[in-house]
Amino acid sequence: MSGSYPNDLLYTKDHEWARVDGKVATIGVTRFAVDQLGDVTQVDLPKEGESMSQGDVFGSVESVKAVSDLFAPLTGKVVKVNSPLSESPEYVNEDPYDEGWMIQVEFTKPDELKSLLDADAYQEFLRESAE
């Protein structure tokens, strides 16, 4: 399923993705994460203006069965939050890379981009984890 992991995104081993445009990265969770979570019923996100460091917990996703933390792929400041998710958390299941995005971050440590995985490396990581 090549469409499951778009080539223009960067990925973390915690199953977040980042779409980088200039100094701003849009962040969400991957198809793999969504499949593991099942039906998402609540998404808790930070407020605009909050700062975070790479690896920090920046929010959580509640599915029917469990709650999972979200980890910041990059250090920076939240400049926009996908507020419709509070009313329509199912967007995360239906369209994790587009309507299901979570936050936009103005990142301050561009070097951290090198620590993220490209689509091939992420899928390789998923294959290794499954073994």
Binding site: G38, D39, T41, Q42, E62, A66
Partner: protein
Amino acid sequence: MEATSGQPRKTPLYEAHRSLGARMIDFGGWLMPVQYATGIIDEHQATRRAVGLFDVCHMGEVHFRGPRATDAVQRLVTGNIGALPNGHAAYVVACYPDGGIVDDLIVYRFERDHILIVVNAANVAKDVAWFRDNVGTWCEVTDASDETGLLAFQGPLAAQALQPLTDAPLASLKHHDFLPTATVAGVPVTIARTGYTAEDGFELFAPTAEIPRLWSALLEAAAGAGGKPVGLGARDTLRLEGRLSLYGNDLTNQTTPLEAGLGWVVKFEAGEFIGKQALLKQRAEGLSRKLAGFVMVGRGIARHGYPIVDEAGARIGEVTSGGPGPTVGKNIGLGYVPAAKAEPGTRLVVDCRGKMIDAEVVKGAFYRRAV
């Protein structure tokens, strides 16, 4: 079927679940489907709207046979088994002498000298040992879990979808009645009008070897009625909405049936049973804590193990079950709190991973089916 230590066991339907896109988890020593391809909420709604088919082969079946079988079971459980008619089932609990719960059970009375008890998957070994230790020579206790499979067929359309597969007169089978011998899709079964979903429905016992054939026929019947297979995830949301207890969460050896709101299954007048004196004492002294049902008022989902706190933040109890209620449209839960805090309308606070979220105690089941 009985779980053993080590690798989780597979029911006869393991391959069938995989082919339906199930995600499998280890539950009570068994590899069971937590959900199929379309997800927990869809499976939940299909059961409320039409019919859901559940593999519950992991549950244990224990037979009591002998002239004093009824006396023996009476001594083990809180229900009035002497007064239970043949062909009728009852929900009961078995207690320890201190009133703590061994397990919650469905007792099926075939005859005065033959009773079947269905026990929770994770408790089979513990229960069988407890039963044997306490019935003495009154009757034989046989663990038939390995050779007995169990499927549940639940939902408002269950009777209409099942009837074409059997000559058994389902309309005359009332809630908690059962037919000891019947045939469904050519398979010899025991059909009971029991379940764990707060819907109408049936549970079908069959020889393990026949389970795949029975499953296929029921799967087709479910699909024809707009239903589908349902995993443990939706089984949990369905039972929680109906406020049906889950052993290991809401019931344990540290809780009594009176505290758990199961006073209605304790029949003090039925005779002597293990735990009776402790429960009589607890009833006379009054309960210090009770299992409360609550709905979340604030934005948050209570989960098993989250603390329940008072306005000042002091811990007063713990959530035993919690999650979204897809049909009631609210986040719901159960938890033990001081008796004074268990009154309907009482405001509670649930510590959801450090966020203090308001909840309100409600009376009775969160969901009741239309009759």
